[in-house]
Amino acid sequence: MKPPAFKYIAARTVEEALGVLGSEGERAKILAGGQSLTPMLNFRLAHPEILVDINRIRELEFIAEGDGDLAIGCLTRHRTIETSNSIRTQCPILSAAAEQVAHLAIRTRGTFGGSLAHADPAAEFPVIALLLDATMNIRGPKGTRSLPAKEFFVSLFSTALQPDELLVEVRIPQWPAGRGWGFRELSRRPGDFAIAIVAAVVTMERGKFKEVRISMGGVGSTALRASKAEQLLKGQPPDDGALQAAGQAASEAADPPHDIHGSAEFRRNAVEVLTRRALKDAIERASTS
């Protein structure tokens, strides 16, 4: 189908974009990569009266280092993240996640900030943002505010962003030396929305888990941290029993939907298996200090 009519504004600055959002509120929607929004318009599931195109605001497209943190501008394309050598060295799990996002043509246009602001529960980047405790920097009429990822994702396709705000930058804390990672996504075909995702990072100390983080996607109304599973592993050696227990705890923390791609029970089972595999990958990649 074809999209409904709307007024189009190509913003040249963040101030201009915020100005439109401020005066038009819910009537206006930000157009970034458009890879999630445009399908909704084509299906006529969304009818924004005004689209504010931010693609010309080049200052929003960057990958930089800020006080040791990794700073990524909201307009940074998935493809840029996928192919960035600096991200591969500074945050390898983000590169791995980027490779799984949809298909090449989608990754050329889709943006990091757009994916996070869209907050699809089966998307890859919210899982990573939650896993690594990213900070979301948001600009609004009153200035900038920062939110930790866990406060940013509220519900299905719903974030803490107000109608007059723009997510401008995401900061990921510095990757500690010796940390290993695992990223496992289950989907019917490469590029499909995930049936389940489990992402894990670990650091080991004297053969035992020191830092453990486990995050899941596709199994709740938002990405979820498997906190109980994380607690079970801290200070434990990485034996099969521990991984089994972690997998089970993660599966119990999931609240999966039931749809044509899989039942809730299937997704819970997927989480259990993917958790063990992601942890195994992370342990293998971790190096003892």
Binding site: K2, N42, T108, R109
Partner: protein
């Protein structure tokens, strides 16, 4: 409520100045306004790949971009890849290796393959399949498409093009 904008877009090397409604999709602009009907619409939501064109040399879905957004930009469609008398090695290889039947997915396959061969290391058939995974074909079962890309790669590695 719908507004019109004047845009200047370079398509296959030629600059066009046109007035378009905001909601006009890039793919419709190419097909209806410029008569470049090589680009096809299959799903109109980004999953089938039939509408794939190049924006500044990189593959995008023309069903997920508005023509207004292409103002000042360069688009390449399958018509810009080559013509029957001077086929691009990819087109020649699809011909030689029977990489199409009805031809509906083919322009999308070619534009995606073009992006892949220029920007990604394709060492195995698996790499080719993964790279083309965003393009759906209902006729061929994909094998000859993969062969076509693999054989074209051999030609391109011997004689790289701009």
């Amino acid at each position: 409520m719908s507004d019109k904008h004047t845009i200047k877009v370079k398509v296959n090397g030629i600059t066009y100045e046109r007035d378009v409604e905001s909601r006009l999709l890039l793919g419709d602009f190419l097909r209806e306004n410029l008569n470049l009907t090589g680009t096809h619409f299959g799903c109109e939501h980004g999953v089938c790949g039939a509408c794939t064109v190049l924006l500044n040399g990189q593959s995008i879905r023309s069903c997920l971009m508005f023509a207004v957004q292409a103002d000042g930009r360069e688009i390449t469609t399958v018509e810009g890849l080559g013509d029957p008398e001077h086929m691009h090695p990819l087109q020649q290889s699809f011909w030689d290796n029977h990489g199409l039947q009805c031809g509906f997915c083919t322009p999308g396959m070619l534009m995606t393959a073009f992006d892949l061969v220029r920007n990604y290391a394709l060492e195995t058939d698996e790499d080719i399949r993964l790279g083309l995974s965003g393009n759906i074909c209902r006729c061929t079962g994909y094998q000859n498409i993969v062969t076509a890309v693999r054989e074209a790669l051999k030609v391109l590695r011997e004689k790289p093009m701009a």
